[in-house]
Amino acid sequence: MRKDLISGLVLLAVAGIYYSWSGAIADSTLSDEVGAAGLPHALAVVLAILGTLLIGRTLLARKPRTVTVDDSTDESDAGLPRAVGFLLFGAAYVIVLPFAGYVIGTALLIGGVALYEGAARNWTVPAAAIGGGVFYWAIFVKLLGVHQPVGSLIQGLF
């Protein structure tokens, strides 16, 4: 119930922000009757209505007579910080890639994620990480001919 209330508020916020951004869409002499901003405006309004409906439905829902467990403490909620932490490895990969290059970046990603996900801290982690980096490099760059970042670090060394 609390989730639906928060979701409804988020939908209203998204609708508001999107509507204000759509006001910045430039007019064009080539434009038709609806215009480039026509659909965005309509979408923002519909989303706001849906958000309001969701909030209304949640508030109007009959309160159960028996004591219920608060849904904010279920398993998914507990996993939110963990899941965001997982995603941060991806963000770090994006930052590191232009500097460290594909092989080192990929090795760091595989090793970091493995440790984060609970792999035992022994020689297997660096071995799998380096092996994984080289394996993907061989497949993408050498076998498939796909361009991947070399990295300023490697370029500086050679």
Partner: protein, 498 residues
């Protein structure tokens, strides 16, 4: 017109054979990994098809779909964990057979029933797709608008019990589709002077972000340990057993055809429906749930039939009826291929490759299925932390391959977070993907119609095809809404005694 010589040439062409078997193998491996659905398996390989020949790329995706449907039954039978949603019904009797020491037989029945279902589905795909697609020649911009709305109406049956949330997800998808250059006037929208956004957000990024990255995030921290017996071997069923199973396989094929054609249908519904019907028509219904061979054959024939028949509405009209076909539509659009009669006329090679590639994959499935089983078991037995690291690296490498752009990686990561938050709040992701994929078609056909009519909305009621399509869409939504209201009322009544 495709000649027999064209088909023989395609059959003997090494790259297509290679592509079909590679797609099938990848599909089986992906499908066998619990939590990695058919659509995720397809989304993972989608970025790598960007540089491929379009015909081979689409054939590859179709073969991945076929492989994943079979692959999903492997953990369903061996560890009571369906690899894909559509193999959930296989768990009931497949795992029971495994407990009785008949895992090899169950895998063999699953494999052969899947092959029969796939062949039936492919025959229907070849017979029905092209005639249906010719209907699209009579389409005006108003008809295309109706078609887009019909495609979006799938949302109603995919909203997971909350139409409001499904519609909101679709609206957000449509909002993402508005990023980039306006299709009529050419002005830029929501690009914030970032050159990477001028072309809009590619559907493939949305799919990879919402399906694959979200799934990895959801599995993060999971302590579930899966261990398979490395010594299991597939035992193909004898002719006598196959004869005994023909009724349940037939039921699976027919229901698979029906569900594949229905927007919002899909392998899971087909599998459970055929399990129920096979039990109803069985001479030994008491064995269902206790290790019935028919209980494995029916759902496997059904979900494999759907893997082909779901392509019928996709290739004819561009309507994706499931997550997997939405990914396939993303693949078609990525290569500039628009479903409909022009696809059959102008890109006949692509259609032939789908047919021939699928045929090769289905036949090869028998051999590959047997050979690859140890590899599947090895893969499932890898420690989860390493598996997560390797899959994450594969996803990010694939996204970079699209445009050699770090910005794309950022978009996919943000969408992964959005998908995770949506799942947390109980919002379905498929409507959002449909919004992204169909958004451009809906907006441009709506506005073109109004340009033609001088701004008169009656154009949508004067076009018979548009009226028919909009009416069907309305019925879909009304039916889903009434079902939702009925279920809510039922839940209220059940709540009262407590």
């Amino acid at each position: 017109m495709t000649t027999l010589l064209d088909i023989i040439r395609l059959l003997t062409e090494t790259p297509l054979v290679f592509v079909a078997i590679a797609g099938l193998t990848w599909g089986i491996l992906g499908g066998a990994l619990p939590g990695i659905s058919a659509s995720i398996t397809m989304a993972l390989v989608l970025p790598f098809t960007y540089t491929m020949d379009p015909a081979q790329a689409i054939a590859l995706l179709a073969c991945v779909y076929i492989g994943a449907e079979y692959g999903g039954s492997i953990p369903a039978i061996l560890i009571r964990t369906p690899g894909t949603n559509s193999s959930a019904a296989t768990v009931i009797d497949g795992y029971e057979l495994n407990r009785q020491g008949r895992a090899g037989e169950a895998l063999g029945i699953s494999l052969m029933s899947g092959v029969i279902g796939s062949l039936f589905g492919l025959a229907m795909l070849i017979l029905l797709t092209e005639p249906l697609s010719w209907l699209a020649l009579a389409f005006t911009p108003a008809s295309y608008f109706g078609l887009g709305i019909l495609g979006l109406s799938v949302i109603a049956s995919m909203s997971g019990g909350s139409l409001i949330k499904g519609l909101a997800a679709a609206i957000i998808g449509l909002m993402i589709a508005t990023v980039g250059t306006d299709p009529i006037s050419g002005v830029t929208r929501f690009t914030f002077d970032i050159p990477d956004l001028l072309g809009g957000v590619e559907p493939v990024l949305v799919m990879v972000g919402l399906f694959a990255l979200t799934e990895l995030m959801c599995q993060s921290g999971s302590t579930t340990v899966t261990q398979l017996n490395q010594k299991i071997r597939i035992k193909l069923p004898s002719l006598a057993v196959m004869n005994k199973l023909k009724r349940s396989q037939f039921i699976g094929c027919i229901l698979g055809l029906f569900e594949g054609l229905t927007p919002g249908g899909g392998g899971s519904i087909a599998a459970f429906m055929s399990y129920n019907e096979a039990k109803r028509w069985s001479k030994t219904p008491h064995l269902f749930g206790k290790g019935s061979e028919e209980g494995v054959a029916a759902p496997e024939a059904a979900n494999n039939t759907v893997a082909s028949t779901a392509l019928i509405p996709l290739l004819s009209f561009g309507i994706p009826s499931s997550n997997s076909t939405a990914v396939l539509l993303g693949g078609l659009l990525m290569h500039g291929l628009i479903p409909g009669p022009r696809l059959f006329e102008q890109s006949a090679q692509v259609i032939d490759s789908i047919y021939v590639g699928s045929f090769i994959a289905i036949i090869a499935q028998i051999g590959v299925g047997i050979i690859i089983l140890p590899a599947c078991i090895w893969l499932v037995n890898r420690p989860r932390p390493y598996r997560a690291g390797f899959i994450f690296a594969l996803i990010l490498s694939g996204i970079f391959t699209l445009n050699n752009s770090l910005f794309d990686l950022g978009i996919a990561l943000v969408l992964g977070l959005v998908g995770f938050l949506m799942r947390l709040a109980g919002f379905p992701v498929l409507p959002m993907i449909l919004g992204v994929v169909l958004g451009h078609m809906v907006e441009s056909s709506y506005r073109r119609s109004l340009v033609l009519s001088g701004g008169d909305h009656m154009i949508f009621l004067q076009d018979p095809i548009a009226v028919a399509l909009l009416s069907i869409a309305f019925i879909f939504v009304a039916f889903s809404l009434s079902r939702e209201l009925r279920e809510a009322r039922k839940a209220k009544i059940e709540e009262v005694p407590s």
